[in-house]
């Protein structure tokens, strides 16, 4: 009986570990919306969303919808699969900032901050995010 209990615990523990690793993997989004668009490209960026949530103060530090210079985004619209919140829904090829400029501006805005202002150094150069295999 004791042995059976141990086996059940071991199996349950394995499932928890497996689920945990799967969830951790799904956290890393591959930013490849540039795929298919014209222009010169580097490899798509693996983006650990949760890590950025931990670092950032609020969702609206990155996600935005500007009206008259004010970020009026409704945070409840930030749901998975909602295409209206994709960067590409506003930053098209004819926008003031195209998708590439929007990505670079958004990411490098924080990543280029002086090291002394950051606890742990984020990638600072192109290849830190556009990783070659």
């Amino acid at each position: 009986m004791k042995r059976l209990g141990f086996c059940a615990f071991f199996i349950a523990f394995s499932f928890v570990l497996l689920a945990n690793s799967l969830l951790a993997q799904s956290d890393v989004m591959i930013l490849d919306s540039m795929k298919g668009l014209p222009g010169k490209k580097r490899p798509p960026v693996p983006f650990p969303h949760n890590l950025h949530v931990e670092k950032g103060g609020s969702c609206k530090d990155c996600h935005h919808l500007y009206e008259k210079g004010e970020n009026v985004l409704d945070e409840s619209s930030l749901t998975e699969g909602n295409k209206e919140i994709f960067c590409s829904s506003c930053h098209g090829s004819k926008a003031r900032l195209n998708l590439e400029q929007a990505y670079h501006g958004q990411c490098m805005g924080c990543h280029k901050k002086p090291l002394k202002e950051q606890k742990k150094a984020p990638p600072r150069y192109c290849g830190g995010c556009h990783i070659r295999k």
Partner: protein, 221 residues
């Protein structure tokens, strides 16, 4: 240190580069100023000659006699390619232009990255050729000092580190830091070392050349 190299030092390097070049240019004109300039007598009357395409071509080819093209064509090609690519490759590099766009809101046209990579490799091969000449050829070795090797390193280092950085070889962040630093060192040293031929080549080649040919000893600048 890292913040300084990738921040203020870039601006400082560009300011020293531009001010240094302006200073050298002013110095060049100041030192060559003279109250009176004599004119050499004309040795013979120039007769207008009827130029046919064959004659123009023949005179162009004849002008190559006695130049480096006749004595060392490989060096002529290597040095021409090296100098052209040394300027073009970094100007039209995608990574540089994206940084330019981010900081100034405008950028130049960019080459496709595999092309820039190939051009960088050509610059490096030319660099290896020049280094090989300095080490292996007695006549070049005889006039080579440690200063020449330092200048060679200053010119080649940004390309070598840039090549490593593009391929993400070795420790990427360190390679990039050395790449930025080597570029800054190059900019700072251009006006004050023999790398200044980037500017003075044009003055020597066209102004002084013109003085002794077209305009008979008169100062043309």
């Amino acid at each position: 240190m890292v913040d300084f190299v990738q921040g203020p030092l870039i601006t400082i390097a560009f300011i020293i580069f531009i001010l240094g070049i302006l200073f050298q240019l002013i110095q060049f004109f100041r030192l060559t100023r003279k109250k009176e300039w004599g004119r050499l007598p004309i040795a013979y009357e120039m007769k207008p000659e009827k130029k046919t395409p064959e004659k123009i071509l023949a005179s162009c080819l004849a002008s190559l006699n006695g130049t480096l093209w006749k004595t060392d064509p490989v060096l002529t090609v290597a040095t021409s390619v090296f100098h052209v690519l040394l300027i073009l490759t970094p100007l039209f590099l995608l990574g540089h232009n994206i940084l330019l766009d981010q900081s100034c809101g405008w950028s130049l046209f960019s080459f496709p990255e595999p092309l820039s990579d190939g051009l960088t490799l050509i610059v490096l091969l030319c660099g290896v050729y020049f280094l090989g000449r300095r080490i292996l050829l007695a006549k070049v070795r005889a006039i080579t000092t440690i200063y020449d090797y330092v200048v060679w390193l200053i010119a080649v280092a940004p390309f070598l580190t840039g090549f490593f950085a593009y391929h993400q070889w070795f420790h990427y962040e360190t390679v990039m830091l050395v790449h930025i630093l080597s570029g800054e060192i190059m900019l700072i040293t251009i006006p004050f070392t023999k790398l200044g031929h980037m500017l003075f080549f044009f003055l020597y080649r066209f102004f002084i050349g013109g003085e002794y040919s077209f305009l008979r000893g008169s100062r043309t600048w």
